[in-house]
Symmetry: C2
Subunit: 405 residues, 2 copies
């Protein structure tokens, strides 16, 4: 297949590019390289030394003989070029990672909120409009997030995208299928909730064939392909904005930095290893909906864990202490989370779970590049509201939390 990978230079995008190229697909990376610019803005860098996208593509060709085509293009700001590209290349499938994807970054300031909404909504909507306009029949696979649902469920398993409800009518109860209600907890998560409405409309009005993957928190850094050459190495974020919880614990452990648990650590989240993430995308690609079908929605996760349990696991494994800090986010202190993922299991996903030595692998990577870490960038500082910012500022080390416990 000819596949366009939008955001193919990113943390999930790059391993996906390599995985699909390895399988013999013709891969076109479309990326505006905004994530590299944000590194520059924040003054942080990937733990792993990452080459330019052009250099990475060159190495992949050298190692495998397979060509990766890179196109510098801004989906949200260059609609005409996007439409022209789709019209010229007519891909069979489009994988859409091209959105600002960090909740803390999306909450940093008014400018970051506005950037995230403007960028993400327009990127997705421009893409959908261009697909309609060019009349291409590509299967669109989008990376969404479990976070659209928020974490205050009533204890029922979160189904895959849809919910059957009954409505009282004058003729008795009638069944109706609805999109599972979303309640996003950050501006970033909110944009994925908006995407869901865009997809529903364009599938219904124009018969676009769309799969939306509601992904859990990705951990790990290597895949089979990124291991093949030092210069194919994947991005690995450790900073308070882009680092995700389990990867951050592993890096903190590697450099002897106390594991930063915010609040009680009672937040339960869904997780998936990077290798499974790229495998899920492969499975979703092969299972395309037909035109006129509703949007196909998968929960792309393999296990759920409570944050403090993860911290305790990593602490035990590495001897690192835990720092209990005030929570800069506005969220429930404790929540349960049960998630259905029967669809991917049925398609053949064989989950990689936490207990398989992969934690060690990440710690190894972190130790290898520990000299590249700026310890001042480890704390999470983006607060969800001005009130929370004040609270965190006056008590950065969680002294009140400690005295209360």
């Amino acid at each position: 297949m000819k596949i366009a990978v939008l955001g193919g230079d990113g943390f999930c995008g790059w391993p996906t590019v390599l995985h699909l190229s390895d399988q013999g697909h013709e891969i076109h990376i479309i990326d505006n390289l905004s994530r590299r610019w944000i590194d520059t803005e924040l003054g942080v860098q990937s733990l792993t030394p990452m080459d330019s996208i052009q250099e990475r593509c060159r190495i992949w060709k050298q190692e495998t003989g397979k060509e990766l085509h890179f196109h510098l293009l801004d989906l949200a700001r260059e609609y005409e070029r996007l439409r022209g590209w789709l019209s010229d290349h007519r891909p069979d499938a489009i994988i859409h990672f091209a959105e600002q994807r960090a909740a803390p970054y999306s909450m940093k300031s008014d400018r970051h909120k506005i950037y995230t909404v403007n960028n993400n909504v327009n990127a997705t909507h421009n893409l959908l409009t261009a697909m309609v306009e060019t009349g291409i029949d590509a299967h669109l696979v989008h990376l969404g997030t479990m976070g659209v649902y928020g974490y205050s469920s009533v204890g029922a398993p979160i189904p895959e995208g849809y919910l059957d409800i009954e409505i009282d009518t004058p003729d008795g109860k009638k069944a109706q299928e609805i999109l599972y209600p979303t309640r996003p907890g950050s501006v970033y998560h909110m944009t994925k909730s908006l995407d869901q409405i865009l997809f529903q409309f364009y599938a219904q009005n124009d018969g676009l064939r769309i799969t939306d993957l509601h992904q859990g928190i990705v951990w790990g850094t290597h895949t089979e392909q990124t291991r093949r050459h030092e210069q194919l190495i994947n991005r690995f974020d450790y900073d308070g904005d882009y680092g995700t919880v389990l990867n951050r614990f592993l890096i903190q452990a590697a450099i002897g930095y106390p594991l930063t648990v915010h609040g009680t650590g009672g937040q339960t989240r869904a997780f998936i290893h990077l290798q499974d993430s790229v495998r899920c995308i492969e499975l979703a690609l092969a299972d395309a909906p037909r035109a006129g079908e509703r949007v196909r929605i998968f929960n792309q996760m393999t296990e759920t864990h409570r944050v403090r349990d993860l911290a305790e696991l990593v602490a035990k494994m590495t001897g690192t202490e835990i720092a209990w800090l005030p929570n800069p986010r506005k969220e429930a202190a404790e929540n349960d989370l049960v998630v259905e993922n029967a669809q991917f299991l049925a398609l053949g996903l064989n989950p990689t779970t936490l207990q398989e030595g992969l934690l060690d692998e990440v710690v190894e990577v972190a130790r290898k590049y520990a000299h590249r870490i700026d310890r001042k960038r480890v704390p999470a500082v983006s607060a969800w509201t001005k009130d929370i910012a004040k609270r965190v500022e006056t008590d950065p080390e969680g002294k009140r939390l400690k005295s209360a416990s």
Copy 2:
């Protein structure tokens, strides 16, 4: 109160401005005048001769002694100026009409789709962000639409914003309140569905006080205040993009143009007279939610009618014939619609219904300005998909429809 009316130069905005000014509020109109630019783009004009906003404000001052403050500002593109304005003026309430509001315009071409999403989402989101950033405690009243729900309900009355459902959990059924599921049928309606998610988030995260009015199709043109002087007259659209169904029938009748019914005319819609619309806004303003409360949602409509019944009513009243045309929209041919509006009735709304001579008034206005009508601009030409466009193009007069019936 000091009230900012965003989009205060528009069809609903202007009568709202006058109504609230008349009640003694200090009114600030914020508008980018985009609706006037769209008239220029389309080469159509309001049936009624409309003066500039500055001239209208001058006449109102002359007639009533009351000042209207006009600020030319683009919400979607001038965030910094918006924030500065809010910070300087700190209004007590903000009424937000400032979105592209025609479904056919939003479906005209890829450019129009992109403009509508970009403009509407960024206008609303910039406003919400600026409210948070300036810390003002204004009550935000937004004009939404009944159209977010689509028109394929199972026959149950559409409640006001929320739906109580039961979810199966391991501990038995649990009640949960959700936003009533939306299924918008055009890009325009979709943007109002997106707005709803934005409001939910900012009410929850930042305690913004928000009321969302899900309005039916507005008909009529005068209010008590617009009648006071020829130069205070309201905009009145008759073209296929901006004219709304009942007003269009009345204008068509006034100029002897066959009443354009698309499809079977079996579409049932919610309606409200312009005078009731401004009264509803007054009532909603006085009933502000508290910080931390969920978004207050009202169905702002007073009656439902089937389109062909309206056509037949106007035909009978005026002797005009009906033209049965192919439907350029993608929508159910026939639907029922029951809508709850108990909240506004409880607050004291006394509905103006179709049977009160107001139809005659609109026909009067239309006859008075009939010489300003370009008959070529009466047909609705924006098709919802390329396939529909082809079908309508090859059969513009609905001959196949006629032979089939």
